[in-house]
């Protein structure tokens, strides 16, 4: 039985060692104190590596990971969120929010019509709240359309 803790611990050890290695490469300037910019990261990295090693040697009980389909839902949500991050500026608030909120809503409860309604409702409701009640500077529609 492969334990998640072991895998994660191993990743931690490798990342921590890489972090310590890159700490040794940090440039020091002529204006330096007795400790310098390298020591603290090296200490932190070493402790992290030690913790990772403990996780490899003494793993906890296996967490109950979701089934594959749920991982699919999570992946879709992450992709949707990244797309949202990039769409917010060029496309304005209203359209991306309606689409992405519908997708997220559908991932939580797989019913198409309520999901779309909640997406549209959230998009308009939050826009009114942010723009007109709280006075944040949001652009509602794509820049191209507004000109």
């Amino acid at each position: 039985m492969i334990k998640s803790d072991r895998i994660f611990g191993l990743v931690v050890v490798l990342v921590a060692l890489a972090y310590v290695a890159s700490a040794t490469q940090v440039q020091t300037s002529f204006l330096s104190d007795p400790v310098g910019p390298k020591a603290f990261p090296m200490i932190v990295g070493s402790i992290a590596a030690l913790c990772g090693a403990v996780m490899v040697l003494r793993p906890d009980e296996e967490p109950d990971w979701p089934e594959l389909r749920t991982f699919g839902a999570l992946l879709i949500s992450v992709i949707a969120l990244v797309a949202y991050a990039y769409a917010l500026k060029p496309l304005g608030f209203l359209i991306p929010t309606a689409i992405i909120a519908s997708i997220l809503s559908y991932q939580i409860s797989a019913r198409a019509v309520p999901a779309m309604l909640s997406g549209f409702g959230l998009s308009i409701g939050l826009y009114v709240l942010f723009k007109f009640i709280l006075g944040l500077g949001l652009t509602g529609l794509p820049k191209v359309l507004v000109g």
């Binding site: 603290f40 990772g52 999570l74 949500s77 992450v78 997220l104 909640s118 006075g135």
Partner: protein
């Protein structure tokens, strides 16, 4: 004493201005809703509101009043979802579910809500008075703290957080290291050289702690809801007419008082204070009432004790946060982030340089408490209705608010993507039982901790024994080691109560 009253009148002068009063009331209301909603607790609720309140352009006192009212409100509101849904909003609220949920299932949901509301008030009110008395004293002691003492104090905070609040020392220490390592990204304060940026210009200023907090707390929560498909948040118990159970309240008056004192003292400890507060309050009352007390089956005292302890600890946790800059819980860590965003440096100088901020805050906490009691006992039915918002509307809403908040604060895609990354990290960590609060604390305190260490070494000319040169720092370092190691042995004797299942 005369000082205290002069300070309080200064505070009330600020707090009683119509605008501040309005902010306190709004904050309490929003806070109670946030606390009551399943999946939102004090820390992630306050986290998603900070960027928004910052963009509104409120001044330091006003935003502090607003956010601490939200904080207190969420502590009150958290009990609603603990009792009715068996979903604690955060770690300390877990203890309230132990008796609150059974009581609600026995058809006494209304009584449980009123008892816990009054207990919250008693705990929070006494803790605010404790804060008023203790904080100025502690701030005077804190004046004598040099870099060595501060370094030891930070270490104590991390080790108790890891030792007490988690089930596995290695994982808690790892979480602190992840946070500290993230804090080292960016330009080095002393030499001005970039560290760990990989040549990325966005990383030169370091990782914004608000991005990390919103990602780890709010976005990760959204992923959890996607995993469960929003199950388990349906209201299973009926709430009939709400009356005031006078008998139960009178019976548990000593329980509330004792629990408040225990909670407050635990809350003052830097690091793990707040979750320890409700735990100790519940366990000590359980021991006092013995077997025939019936703790765990839904008794009034079992609801009153953790709720008074929890709220007292929340107030107590403000003491080290304001006087030393070391938070005592996840939510106070978020409040520390708020102070840092507002360019207020917590610490002993805060009390002498910005008395308006400190005393305005304390006065508005007192007001917020009374507002919350009035809001939470007669109006509890309204909040129960809000709690029935289905997660497929709520969680996308939380996501959008987080995005808009961070986007209007930093205006960069990079930070939004980084926030999603922190969301994934938070999801993985919670799955693997790695606590996320130490990560936040590491990011918040990392550069201060490193600077204090380096300052100490400059003072001593590189002599490491300087860290043990004063009684205070030696004591703190010993406490840090004990706080980390002792729970490993104690865990065999004391098991933390787990959530009750249906």
């Amino acid at each position: 004493m005369a000082d205290l009253f002069a300070n309080l009148s200064l505070g009330f002068g600020i707090a009683f201005s119509p605008f501040t009063l309005m902010l306190a009331v709004i904050g309490c209301f929003i806070g109670t809703i946030i606390g009551a909603l399943p999946g939102l607790g004090p820390s992630n609720g306050v986290a998603i509101l900070i960027p928004i309140s910052f963009t509104l352009g409120l001044d330091a006192t006003a935003s502090l009043v607003l956010m601490t009212s939200v904080y207190y409100g969420a502590m009150y509101g958290g009990r609603i979802s603990s009792i009715l849904l068996n979903i604690p909003g955060d770690e300390p609220a877990l203890m309230t579910t132990l008796d609150g949920y059974p009581m609600a299932k026995n058809g006494r949901a209304g009584d449980a809500l009123v008892i816990s509301g009054v207990a919250s008030f008693v705990g929070a009110f006494l803790a605010t008075i404790g804060l008023m008395l203790l904080a100025p004293l502690l701030s005077r002691v804190a004046y004598s703290f040099g870099p060595a003492e501060y370094f030891a104090l930070y270490l104590l905070a991390f080790s108790t957080l890891g030792g007490i609040a988690s089930n596995n020392q290695a994982k808690a220490a790892l979480a602190s290291c992840i946070g500290l390592a993230i804090a080292t990204i960016g330009l080095d304060n002393n030499s001005g050289m970039p560290r760990f940026t990989g040549g990325n210009l966005h990383l030169m200023d370091g990782v914004d702690f608000l991005v990390a907090i919103v990602g780890l707390f709010a976005i990760a929560e959204v992923f959890f809801f996607i995993e469960n498909h929003g199950k388990g948040s349906a209201l299973g118990v009926k709430l009939e007419k709400v009356t005031v159970p006078v008998r139960d309240l009178l019976d548990s008056k000593w329980t509330m008082l004792r629990a408040s004192v225990v909670g407050f003292i635990a809350g003052v400890l830097p690091g793990a204070g707040a979750s320890l507060g409700s735990f100790l309050a519940y366990m000590s009352e359980k021991a006092i009432s013995g077997k025939k007390g019936g703790f765990g089956t839904g008794v009034a005292k079992g609801v009153a004790a953790p709720e008074a302890g929890n709220n007292a600890a929340a107030g107590g946790a403000l003491v080290p946060m304001l006087t030393l800059g070391v938070p005592g819980s996840g939510t106070t860590a978020v409040l520390l982030a708020l102070l840092m965003t507002l360019n207020i440096t917590p610490g002993p100088t805060l009390f002498s340089d910005r008395p308006d901020v400190v005393w305005g805050l304390i006065a508005s906490l007192l007001i917020a408490n009374i507002v919350l009691l009035l809001m939470n006992v007669p109006m509890v039915k309204i909040f129960v209705r809000i709690l029935q918002v289905p997660p497929w509307i709520l969680m996308p809403g939380v996501t959008m608010v987080s995005f808009v908040g961070i986007y209007s604060l930093t205006g960069s895609y990079f930070d939004l993507v980084l926030m999603i990354g922190f969301g994934i990290l938070g999801f993985l960590c919670r799955k693997m039982d790695i606590p996320t609060v130490p990560i936040i604390m590491g990011i918040l305190l990392g550069s201060a901790m490193e600077n204090k260490l380096r300052d100490a070494m400059v003072l001593s000319g590189g002599e490491w024994t300087y860290l043990f040169s004063s009684k205070i720092s030696t004591g703190l370092l010993i406490a840090a080691v004990l706080g980390f190691i002792a729970p490993m042995f104690l865990r065999r004797f004391i098991t933390k109560p787990q959530r009750v299942s249906d």
